[in-house]
């Protein structure tokens, strides 16, 4: 039986027998990680597909099926961090968001927008560390392995990223009791 994981659960291993089964079980969760990395639905899809192509081509030679997700995630973040210097500067965010219907929906979208905007101010490496550590729930060692960096660098980059978000005007990280 396949082990299907939660969207942000740890890499306990998917044992999908076929590539299609793996994609069906895990690709939506991987897409969400890609979305947090890129902040863009279409880029997330392309990033995920780029990583999946690498797994597809090696499918028959990957002996441990539970290692597939780790392989895809590693391919995804390395492709992403490689993208960082290839930004196309054709767009600039506006200061004003369009009107939205429904207070709850607007509030939810606002939070999402603010979080993505705050993430966008981080260097790509720090952003990748945050997503792997705190969304994908990888250990520091797994994060280091996925990014090809040392555990010490993971720690320092995570600390810097948290510090940057702490001081970001876009995000309120105060405990709920401190809020007005």
């Amino acid at each position: 039986m396949d082990t299907v994981m939660t969207a942000s659960g740890p890499m306990t291993g998917s044992t999908a027998a076929t590539f299609e089964e793996f994609v069906a079980a895990r690709s939506t969760a991987l897409w969400r990680s890609a979305f947090l990395l890129t902040g863009d639905a279409q880029k997330a899809e392309d990033l995920l597909q780029t990583a999946l192509v690498k797994a597809w081509r090696r499918w028959d030679s990957i002996q441990r099926r539970e290692a597939v997700e780790s392989y895809v995630r590693k391919a995804m973040v390395s492709t992403y961090t490689d993208w960082w210097r290839r930004r196309w500067n054709g767009e600039s965010p506006t200061e004003v968001l369009p009107d939205r219907a429904g207070h709850d929906e607007a509030s939810r979208v606002d939070v999402r927008h603010d979080v993505l905007a705050a993430l966008a101010t981080l260097p790509r490496g720090q952003r990748a560390v945050l997503v792997l550590r705190y969304f994908d729930d990888l250990t520091e060692a797994q994060t280091a392995d996925a990014l090809g960096i040392s555990v010490g660098t993971v720690k320092s980059q995570a600390s810097r990223a948290l510090s940057a978000l702490r001081s970001s005007p876009l995000i309120d990280t105060r405990p709920s009791g401190d809020q007005p």
Binding site: A7, T28, K43, N89, G90, V111, R166
Partner: protein, 365 residues
């Protein structure tokens, strides 16, 4: 609990709340798209293998059949004969709204990014954003690039983020050349939140440009064999620098730099800040710059109003004792350098070192 532990809990919640979207592509469609892209890569590899085998077979076979040493070069001539030289970009640029429909067939010899134009530019040229596309021709694995572009999903819905973007028109074209001398061109008026027509369907402009950039960088990385700090070839003459891909991944403080060069690309708007376009950093200059950058990494500063990024204008290319490269790139209006794991705004002393390496300032920044 300390600050970071508290923040980690909050960040988990925030990331979870920001990643609640659902992809528009179903897993089944995704599997099919991935398989198509994978087969395209495999096809390309097989073709490359066959080509290599043909070269080998002809190289060995021709001399045997000819029975003499004087024909030894014939195999090479046969194998390399039908090479099409990349043509320059069209001048004036092609109108992206009047391009001939194309399927971007395989068998291409080269591809290159070129400027484009459209009807709005003729009535108001000031609306066109100045963008320095890397127009260096791509001559390796061109069919793989075309396969990847054709495999892109139909772009039939704007991303939600596009509702909050002010898109400056940035017309671009991708010109593809074939051995028989014909060309095919695709293009769009925007680099994101828009599409180019390929094989009768709209495909995301942003993704096409990423794919082209990817192909160009792959080709460049394959060709790179040097282990010294060198500046990349300027794009569009002297106007813009495009950093080469890093071959070092990791924190700057762990980088054992042994050589460095500062590169300068003249501002696309025409102003010139330094006397020279490149200059090697002497040891003491290199240590001074490196020490400040490694210790002064900060979050990205907020952009002041009216601050317009103009693309990479200054690079510091560092090489370590294993020949690995790390590039610090200044592509912003605020004058700070970025790399994978940090930002750094040089202080007055570091700015002076950079200016000295580039032969001194011509105008103040």
């Amino acid at each position: 609990m300390n600050h970071d532990e508290n923040d980690a809990t909050d960040v988990r919640d925030l990331l979870g709340s920001a990643a609640t979207g659902v992809p528009t592509v179903t897993p089944a469609d995704r599997s099919r798209a991935v398989a198509a892209r994978g087969r395209a890569v495999r096809r390309r590899n097989v073709m490359a293998l066959v080509a290599a085998a043909v070269v080998a077979a002809v190289g060995v076979g021709v001399p045997v059949l000819a029975g003499g040493d004087d024909d030894a070069g014939r195999g090479v001539d046969v194998a390399t004969a039908p090479v099409a030289e990349p043509e320059p970009c069209p001048e004036p640029p092609a109108d992206v709204e009047a391009l001939e429909p194309t399927d971007l067939p395989t068998g291409a010899a080269w591809a290159r990014m070129c400027d484009g134009t459209w009807s709005g530019a003729q009535s108001d040229p000031s609306r066109v954003r100045i963008t320095a596309f890397d127009s260096t021709p791509i001559t390796t694995d061109v069919d793989a690039l075309l396969d990847a572009i054709r495999a892109l999903p139909t772009y039939d819905q704007l991303e939600p983020e596009c509702a909050t973007m002010l898109m400056a028109p940035t017309p671009w074209t991708l010109v593809v050349g074939y051995p028989d001398g014909t060309t095919a061109t695709i293009g769009s008026t925007v680099t994101a939140c828009g599409a180019a027509q390929v094989a009768g369907s709209p495909r995301s402009s942003a993704t096409i440009l990423e794919l082209v950039d990817d192909a160009a960088n792959d080709a460049e990385a394959e060709a790179a064999t040097d282990e010294v700090a060198t500046c990349p070839e300027p794009v569009n003459g002297l106007r813009t620098l495009e950093p080469q891909p890093d071959t070092y991944e990791g924190d700057l403080v762990d980088f054992r730099q042994t050589a460095a060069v500062v590169c300068y690309g003249i501002d696309p708007l025409g102003s010139r800040e330094y006397e020279s376009t490149q200059g090697a950093l002497r040891d003491e200059q290199r240590f001074s710059i490196f020490t400040e950058a490694a210790s002064g990494s900060t979050p990205e500063p907020r952009r002041p109003g009216g601050c317009i990024d103009s693309g990479p204008t200054r690079l510091i290319v560092l090489v370590d004792d294993e020949g690995r490269r790390l590039t610090l790139t200044d592509s912003s209006c605020t004058g700070e350098f970025t790399w994978a794991y940090g930002y750094w705004k040089p202080g007055p002393q570091a700015e002076q070192v950079i200016a000295d390496a580039l032969g001194g300032r011509v105008t103040q920044r």
